[in-house]
């Protein structure tokens, strides 16, 4: 028996809604609010039930137009690589600093996506980020934490 991916997603949403509903019931409200017509958990409880109803309906009812996705043509390698790069970028942006982490992220992303024009790879990374930083930090006065540039003495 084949279960369509949309139904699997709906099943996951059903489970998520159940968990959401359970958590909504656990919200601690003030004692005087317990029996009020509306308190902090009223709306989430309705949402939990709504999630259960809609996902259950999707699982039970026959699909009239199943989403046709050819999984073979999807580019998993590049997409997953980009997501990993973004996670590393998020990890390093505060520790290493905006300039270096952003420039390295851009260089690696271009390469991962198959770009090999080294001149443009360089222009659209280090100098591009430097100009962008100048616009933000220098002109618009938006603070950008950058331990690396502070270490080099470029940024105060």
């Amino acid at each position: 028996m084949n279960i369509s991916p949309s139904k699997i997603i709906s099943l996951l949403f059903f489970i998520f809604s159940g968990f959401y509903l359970y958590t909504a019931h656990q919200i601690q409200v003030f004692t005087f609010d317990e029996n009020a017509a509306f308190n902090a958990k009223t709306f989430p409880i309705y949402l939990g039930y709504a999630g259960l109803v809609f996902s259950a309906l999707y699982i039970i009812l026959p699909e009239k137009k199943p989403s046709d996705v050819d999984l073979k043509v999807l580019d998993y390698k590049k997409t997953i690589s980009l997501v990993i790069l973004m996670i590393i970028y998020g990890l390093t942006i505060l520790r290493v600093g905006y300039f270096l982490s952003t420039s390295v992220f851009l260089v690696l992303s271009y390469i991962v996506l198959g770009e090999r024009k080294w001149f443009w790879i360089f222009i659209l990374s280090f100098p591009f980020v430097a100009i962008f930083m100048y616009l933000l930090h220098g002109l618009l006065n938006i603070y950008l934490r950058d331990p690396f540039l502070q270490y080099l003495g470029v940024m105060g």
Binding site: S6, G51, D75
Partner: protein
Amino acid sequence: MIEGILIGLETAFSFKNLMMVMIGCFAGTIIGMLPGLGPMTAIALMIPITYGFEPSTGLILMAGVYYGAVFGGSTSSILINAPGIPGTVATSFDGYPMAQQGKAGKALAIAAYSSFAGGTIAAIFLLIAAPSLSKVSLAFRSPDYFGLMILGLTAVSAFSAKGHFLKAMMMVVLGLMLASVGQDTLSDIPRFTFQNMNLSDGISFVLVVMATFAMSEALTIIFKANDPSRVAKQISLSQLGSIKLDKIETKKMVTTIPRSSVLGFIIGVLPGAGSTIASFLAYGMERNFVNDEEKQKFGKGSVNGLAAPETANNAACSGSFVPLLTLGIPGSGTTAVMLGALLGFGIQPGPRLYQTNPEIFWSVIMSMYIGMVILLILNLPLIPYIARVLATPRTFLIPLILFFSVTGIYLMSFNNFDIYLMIGIAVMATILRLYDFPMPPLILAFVLGGLMEENLRRSLLISDGSWSFLWDRPLTMLIMALIATIVLWQCIKSIKTKSS
């Protein structure tokens, strides 16, 4: 009203705001031109920048981006048959065949003139309709607002989901669930924070918009890069041909534009309908209005067939501002993003916006018109040059979109948690989009979540916990009847499709 128009003109014509309209139109055109990236992505990318501005300036920039993106979408539809946004799909029916016949310049000119005319006529309608509707909407009470929000969410789900109504409703619930994270507005009780301090203020609106649109759009492009159905056929960008129109073509446009403008505006005002439906309806309507000889040309490069959807989609854009500015309820995903940005500025759109912040109300309306003029005089002559953006390799484009998205969130929060949360939501959104779970209902629900809970709270407290408030007032009952009609219509449609 005259006084208001003057206030609007004064604000919109300040040097700074004029620059913002120009930058907005230009940036919007470029972003909108890139296949897959629409006005929502364009506006989402602008939000972090606008937080440094005054509300009217920020909103003017976003309105410029909106119009620019719609115009840019038409350009990619005409030149490479790859509509940047769904609202310009109908444009490609006749625009692309014209371009293939060596009349790309002419097709772009028709699109620009039609957009300008449609937008101008609709801006006049907006000028008249918005203040009048503002006065009427003062009669709305909490139950009516609650009903209107459900109506908006149901309508957006019905129209945007392309036959996947239940999927859209699941996305609505998910959007409302995400909006419920953080402290309760009245009691400050933490909800769904799991003792994580980063969640106590709730999930940032910019984070959700960036993740579900900009970032997931970029990931989807890469994910589906090998899909043969997504490979666009490119025409020579150096041979666009003349942009001058002859008398017959002008005459055809003169008859098409007024009726398509009226239709587009009315459709735009309706919650959820938006520019996509407006453009398709206008195309269909125009086909019925023209003579048999012209009818044969539809789909092969008809002037009427190109002018009608282009006029209607721009008129619908203006129309969609009516419920946003007068009721504070966005009728589309794009205006939902703008509502979120307004709330970020501490401004609550609604009937009182007209009185409390007239400079914002009127300057937005005025800047729409200025945006149209700028699009016509600045973008049209520059099209041969701007069109070269279409040649930008995706290998450079995608990392830059991801970089702008991460930077936008980093500048707002300066913490890693928000970046990780954004990546997580983006990955989830990419998978959901792959299986036709629509994102606009999620965004609309996320933006309306707080307001909806507030209005439900008031309604239930006034009626002492009874749900009778849904039918106590004739207005609320009418709104509920409309919701029931939409749901019933979806059920009938579903049964019909099944039996056929």
